[in-house]
Symmetry: C2
Subunit: 183 residues, 2 copies
């Protein structure tokens, strides 16, 4: 089901992916799909959780541990999958509205991601980054840069080079994956 | 009409502000409101344009020109108006979906904001910021930080200090309004 949803999102985008289409692609009745995911929001949260699991497993397989360079590679990879990035951008923003079904998921996820990034930054740089911030100060900025660049890139991919901008931010924090700042 | 919409958004949030309620608050028939703003999205774009005009006029009145310190004050101010920030966050993200009525508005706005910030940064710092980036490299990161912090703050205002984090970013770029990095 999640695989079918991810395929459809890649092909058609967030708005045009219906529960009916996902059920059909997965070879289920709509009733069968609704049994697992009663709303489109719940299905899409499932898709984003699956993406997180996949990204973590890939990073573990490729480098054994997350480093800032792993994050830069994740941003490179995101630039190849606009459908899922679009889903994340729309659903995370929508979750800030009153009583949204995905609010708890995103609130917890952001907290976990900030904490995880602070650990990663402390492992890589110690208690103070070369740019002068503590890991706890840099972590929410790093999450913000990733999310904010995704929004600008989705709207204007020809003028926003998301991977290059993210590496500019890493350079600002203290080092740019060994490459420094590119012009 | 825009004033009525802004009041209702402040009181009730984005999701619970209906065209009918805005018409009632503004003392119009719903037909009269629909004549000016045929959809909720168009009304909300009007609200965001009005906010931009107001913010620009306020900055011009207080300091004569935008500087990074003006931006920090704008972030301080945004932390007092979650309703309008919520509207901006939800609508800007939603605009990345296929054929969204607000897509052109946000695409143009982001382009103009990036260009405006690059000019501001060049005036303040010259062709290279103390942190090492060019104004054109720093501008999309600055927009991303503002947008991304708003999302984290709307979800978790107790754990995300949006104004302090934005000043951390300014410190990273080259100076923190004369205060340096606060721990």
């Amino acid at each position: 089901m999640l695989q079918a949803a991810m395929e459809l999102i890649s092909e058609r985008g967030y708005r045009r992916t219906s529960l009916a289409a996902v059920a059909e692609r997965a070879g289920l009745t709509q009733q069968g799909l609704l049994h697992h995911f009663p709303t489109k929001e719940q299905l899409l949260v499932g898709v984003l959780e699956e993406r997180d699991r996949w990204d973590f497993a890939s990073a573990a397989a490729s480098s054994g541990a997350w480093r800032t360079e792993t994050l830069a590679q994740l941003v490179d990879y995101n630039a190849t999958r606009p459908g899922i990035v679009q889903t994340y951008t729309v659903l995370s923003a929508d979750s800030v509205t009153e009583d949204h079904p995905a609010r708890d998921f995103f609130e917890s996820r952001f907290r976990a991601v900030r904490e995880g990034l602070a650990v990663l930054l402390r492992t890589e740089f110690g208690d103070s980054l070369p740019g002068g911030l503590t890991p706890e100060q840099a972590a929410p900025l790093m999450v913000a840069v990733m999310d904010g660049l995704q929004l600008q890139w989705l709207l204007d991919p020809e003028n926003v080079d998301m991977p290059a901008s993210f590496r500019d931010f890493l350079a600002l924090l203290g080092r740019g994956g060994g490459e420094g700042v590119k012009g």
